[in-house]
């Protein structure tokens, strides 16, 4: 589905624009949660997923990949987005702030382990058990 969308995007839309869209949507998710608007947060979640997933796909479809640039930017933005969303969730009436921050810390520990595995074992796997993606393309 992502490739189908990527092939139909106008030429002026660049992968970095989609990355930026993902960041803006992450801020939107946080603000929506903090404002106790879970439905709006859900809409922003879809936009965030699109921006976050489509940037690499667009680069691959157009054969404009920059693997190291994409790897660095993608994972940096993931970490920032996770922190922003966790803080927004923590500021919402649904969970305590410490719970939202606890979720962020756990996610970042998983991410750090993945990056250390990449360095020491030469393996990049986002899957834990049967959950998550096994491999992920970079751009």
């Amino acid at each position: 589905m992502l490739e189908w969308i990527a092939c139909r995007l106008p030429r002026w839309v660049l992968p970095d624009h989609l990355t930026a869209l993902g960041v803006v949507a992450a801020i939107g998710i946080a603000v929506a949660y903090a404002a106790a608007s879970p439905w709006l947060a859900s809409v922003f979640l879809v936009v965030h997923w699109l921006g976050d997933s489509l940037d690499g796909t667009l680069a691959r479809v157009r054969r404009t990949e920059h693997p190291r640039y994409g790897y660095y930017l993608d994972h940096l933005v993931d970490a920032v987005a996770t922190a922003v969303i966790g803080i927004g969730l923590g500021l919402s009436p649904y969970v305590l702030l410490v719970t939202g921050l606890g979720a962020v810390v756990a996610y970042l520990v998983l991410s750090i382990n993945t990056y250390l595995e990449t360095q020491t074992l030469g393996v990049f796997s986002l899957g834990y058990g049967r959950l998550g993606r096994r491999r992920r393309g970079s751009r």
């Binding site: 756990a106 998983l110 595995e117 020491t120």
Partner: protein
């Protein structure tokens, strides 16, 4: 609807659910780290003292 859920205390149950997920995540890292450390220790035998 949200206020109803809040009133019924359903949403208050979210904290333990999130903490349970956090616990699962940390357990998954611990299991994976143990496996990785065994693999790395086997790959890199301890160096002899000079």
């Amino acid at each position: 609807m949200l206020n109803t859920l809040l009133g019924l205390g359903v949403i208050a149950a979210l904290d333990p659910v999130v903490w349970a997920i956090v616990g699962l995540m940390l357990c998954a890292v611990a299991v994976r780290a143990a496996r990785n450390l065994r693999a790395l220790a086997a790959r890199e035998p301890a160096q002899a003292a000079p």
